[in-house]
C-alpha cells in the first residue's frame, strides 16, 4: 500500500525502514496479538467443528458494525456488541450453527442483506467516501488503525490468549470426551458459553485485521495447517498461533513493498502454508506405511 520505500536485501535495514512508520508499528503489534488469539481460538473452533459459527459471526459483525455506524456509535462497539450478543444467543440455543442447515443459511443471507441496507443508508446520508467504510469492514483495514484502536486490539488479543490458555485443559477434555467430562463434574455449559464469547471477541478482532469476509483465513486456515501437522493438541495450538502470526507479519511486510491489499497477502500466505502442510502430511503418511 505504501510502496514509497524500496526493498534493499539488507533485512535489518529493511525492517528498520518499515518500522520507522507509526502505522506499520501499530499494525505489527496489533496484528500479531490478533493473529495469536485467532490461531489459538481457531484451533479449538476446528477441533469442536464450529467453523460455520465463525462464518455466521463474521456476517453478523458486518451488519452490527454498519448498524452501529448508522445510529452514531463507534464501528468497534457495533462489531463487538453484535458478535457477543449473537454468540450468547447461539450458546443458549445449544446449536452448533451447522452450515448445511438451510434455515441458518437463509437467516444469515438475510442478516447480510440487512447489513447492505445499513451500508447504503449510511453511504447516502454521509459523504461518498463513507462507502469505503463498508469495504474496510468486509476486507479489513489493518494499516488504517488509529493508535488507540491498535492499543485496544492488542490488549483484547492478549487477554483472549490468556483466557483461552487458562481454560485450555478443561476445554480440551470437554471437546474430546464430553461424556467422561460430564461424569467428572466439569461445568460443560459454562465452559462452552465462555468459549463462544472468546470466539465472538476473536471474530470481532479479526474483522479489523482481515475483514468480515476473510475471518476464515486467520481463524480456520492456520488451525487446518496445525491439524495436518500434529495430533498433539498443545503442539497444534502452538503451530496454529505461529502460522497465524507469521501470515500477518509476512503479509504486512509484503504489502509494505508491493502495493496490493494486505488481506490478500495474509489469506494467500495462510493458504500456501495449508497446501504445504497437506503435502507434508501426505509424505508422512506414505513414509509410515
Amino acid at each position: 500500500m505504501f510502496a514509497a520505500t524500496s526493498f534493499s536485501f539488507n533485512p535489518l535495514q529493511d525492517l528498520q525502514a518499515m518500522l520507522a512508520y507509526d502505522f506499520m508499528r501499530n499494525a505489527f503489534i496489533a496484528g500479531g496479538c490478533i493473529a495469536a488469539a485467532a490461531g489459538l481460538v481457531g484451533y479449538f473452533v476446528v477441533l469442536r467443528n464450529q467453523v460455520f459459527t465463525t462464518d455466521a459471526l463474521g456476517h453478523v459483525a458486518f451488519t452490527g458494525g454498519m448498524g452501529g455506524l448508522l445510529i452514531g456509535l463507534n464501528l468497534l462497539v457495533g462489531v463487538f456488541g453484535s458478535c457477543i450478543a449473537v454468540a450468547l444467543a447461539i450458546g443458549s440455543l445449544g446449536g452448533r450453527g451447522r452450515g448445511r442447515d438451510v434455515a441458518i443459511g437463509t437467516v444469515f443471507a438475510w442478516v447480510l442483506g440487512l447489513g447492505l441496507l445499513f451500508l447504503s443508508i449510511f453511504t447516502s446520508s454521509h459523504s461518498a467516501s463513507a462507502g469505503n467504510m463498508g469495504i474496510s469492514v468486509l476486507f479489513g483495514s489493518i494499516l488504517g488503525m488509529q493508535p488507540a484502536q491498535a492499543a485496544i486490539a492488542s490488549v483484547a488479543g492478549l487477554l483472549t490468549c490468556i483466557a483461552l490458555l487458562a481454560i485450555a485443559r478443561p476445554l480440551l477434555f470437554v471437546t474430546l470426551d464430553p461424556e467422561v467430562a460430564t461424569s467428572r463434574g466439569l461445568p460443560i455449559r459454562v465452559l462452552t458459553a465462555f468459549f463462544l464469547i472468546l470466539v465472538a471477541i476473536t471474530v470481532a478482532e479479526s474483522v479489523q485485521a482481515v475483514g468480515a469476509l476473510l475471518v476464515f483465513g486467520l481463524m480456520v486456515t492456520p488451525a487446518a495447517v496445525a491439524q495436518n501437522l500434529t495430533t498433539n493438541p498443545y503442539a497444534g495450538m502452538a503451530v496454529s498461533a505461529a502460522v497465524a502470526v507469521l501470515a500477518v507479519w509476512l503479509g504486512l511486510t509484503l504489502a509494505f513493498y508491493i502495493s496490493y491489499p494486505v488481506s490478500f497477502f495474509i489469506t494467500a500466505l495462510a493458504f500456501g502454508a495449508f497446501i504445504v502442510s497437506l503435502g507434508v502430511s501426505r509424505i508422512h503418511r506414505t513414509a509410515s506405511v
Binding site: R100, A103, A109, L114, F139, V215, F216, T221, F264, A268
Partner: protein, 294 residues
C-alpha cells in the same frame, strides 16, 4: 429512481419499463429466477446448499478477473464456478459442513478466493461500488451482452436439466436403489453440479455472491415445506423465485436502497411465514388427533 409509485399498477409497470437498464434487469432477473428456482429445488432436495454457497464465493474472483480483462463478468463467473464444480466432482466427496476437516478445508478455500477477488479489484482500481455490485448484486449496469450470455446459459441449462430431471429425482431421493437399478448416479451428480455452477454464475449478477441463498436455496426450502411431490414442488419453487425477484426488483427501483436487501428480506419473510404456518397446522393436527383419541 426519482419516480414514485402510484396505486395504478399499469402506470407503475410503464414507469418500471421506461429505462433500458431496467428492461435488461427484468429480463435477466426473470431468466435467473426460473433457472435458480429449477436448479435450487434440486439443491435443497439433495442437501447441497453448502456447496452452492461455496460455488458462489469461488465465483467472486472470477467476476473480478473478467472485469480486469474487459470481459463480461458472467463469463468469469461461469469459468470459476465450473472449475470449482469439476474440482469438487473429481475429489468425489460430498461437500458437507458437518465434517470437521472438510469444513476447515472449504473455509480456507473460501477465504483465499475472496482475498483473490479483492486483489483483482484493486488491480483494476475499481471503485467500492464495483465490489459491492458483485458481493451484493445490482440492478444497474446489466449490459446487452450480459443479457445475451444469461439467455444462452439459462436455455442450455434448462434443457439439460429437463433431460436429466427424472433420473436426478430418483438419484436424489434414493441413491442406493437408483444405483441398483442401473442409474448412473455419479455421472448424474457430476452433471447436476455443473448445472448448479452455471446457475450460480448467472444468479450472482442479480443478488451477488454473498446473498445467493435468497434465490438458490430459500425458494426450494419453502416449496419442500409445502409439498413432497417433485413436479408440484419444482413448479412452486420457480413461482416463488419469480415472485421474490420481481417484487425485489420493483421495490428496489422505486427506492434508493439495494435490490439484494429486498430480495433477501422477501425470501426470508416467506420462509419464516411458511415455517410458522406449518407449525400451526401441525399443532392443530396434533390437537385434533388428541381430541379424537380422547
Amino acid at each position: 429512481m426519482a419516480d414514485s409509485p402510484s396505486w395504478d399498477l399499469l402506470a407503475d409497470l410503464q414507469l418500471l419499463l421506461r429505462f433500458h437498464f431496467m428492461q435488461n434487469a427484468l429480463v435477466v432477473g426473470t431468466l435467473v429466477a426460473v433457472l435458480a428456482g429449477a436448479v435450487g429445488y434440486f439443491v435443497v432436495l439433495r442437501g447441497q446448499s453448502f456447496a452452492a454457497h461455496m460455488l458462489s464465493q469461488v465465483g467472486f474472483p472470477g467476476a473480478a478477473a473478467a472485469v480486469l480483462l474487459h470481459l463480461p463478468p458472467v463469463i468469469g463467473l461461469a469459468a470459476f464456478c465450473t472449475a470449482a464444480a469439476l474440482g469438487v466432482g473429481v475429489i468425489g466427496r460430498r461437500i458437507d459442513a458437518g465434517n470437521r476437516m472438510e469444513s476447515a478445508v472449504v473455509g480456507s478455500i473460501l477465504a483465499f478466493s475472496l482475498g483473490l477477488g479483492l486483489l483483482f479489484f484493486r488491480l483494476y482500481a475499481g471503485s467500492a461500488q464495483a465490489v459491492y455490485a458483485f458481493l451484493f448484486g445490482t440492478i444497474l449496469g446489466i449490459s446487452d451482452r450480459d443479457v445475451a450470455a444469461t439467455a444462452v446459459t439459462a436455455v442450455v441449462c434448462l434443457i439439460a436439466l429437463a433431460a436429466i430431471a427424472r433420473p436426478l429425482v430418483f438419484a436424489s431421493v434414493d441413491p442406493d436403489v437408483a444405483e441398483a437399478r442401473g442409474v448412473p448416479v455419479r455421472a448424474i451428480s457430476m452433471a447436476f453440479l455443473l448445472l448448479a455452477a452455471l446457475a450460480v454464475a448467472v444468479t450472482v449478477q442479480i443478488v451477488g455472491t454473498l446473498l445467493i441463498f435468497a434465490l438458490l436455496v430459500a425458494p426450494g426450502a419453502c416449496a419442500l415445506q409445502l409439498t413432497a411431490r417433485p413436479a408440484r414442488g419444482l413448479a412452486l419453487t420457480v413461482a416463488l423465485s419469480l415472485l421474490f425477484t420481481w417484487t425485489g426488483l420493483a421495490v428496489a427501483y422505486f427506492t434508493i436502497y439495494p435490490v439484494g436487501f429486498f430480495i433477501t428480506t422477501i425470501a426470508f419473510a416467506a420462509y419464516v411465514l411458511i415455517r410458522i404456518a406449518r407449525a400451526i397446522s401441525r399443532g392443530n393436527g396434533a390437537s385434533h388427533r388428541d381430541a379424537q383419541a380422547a
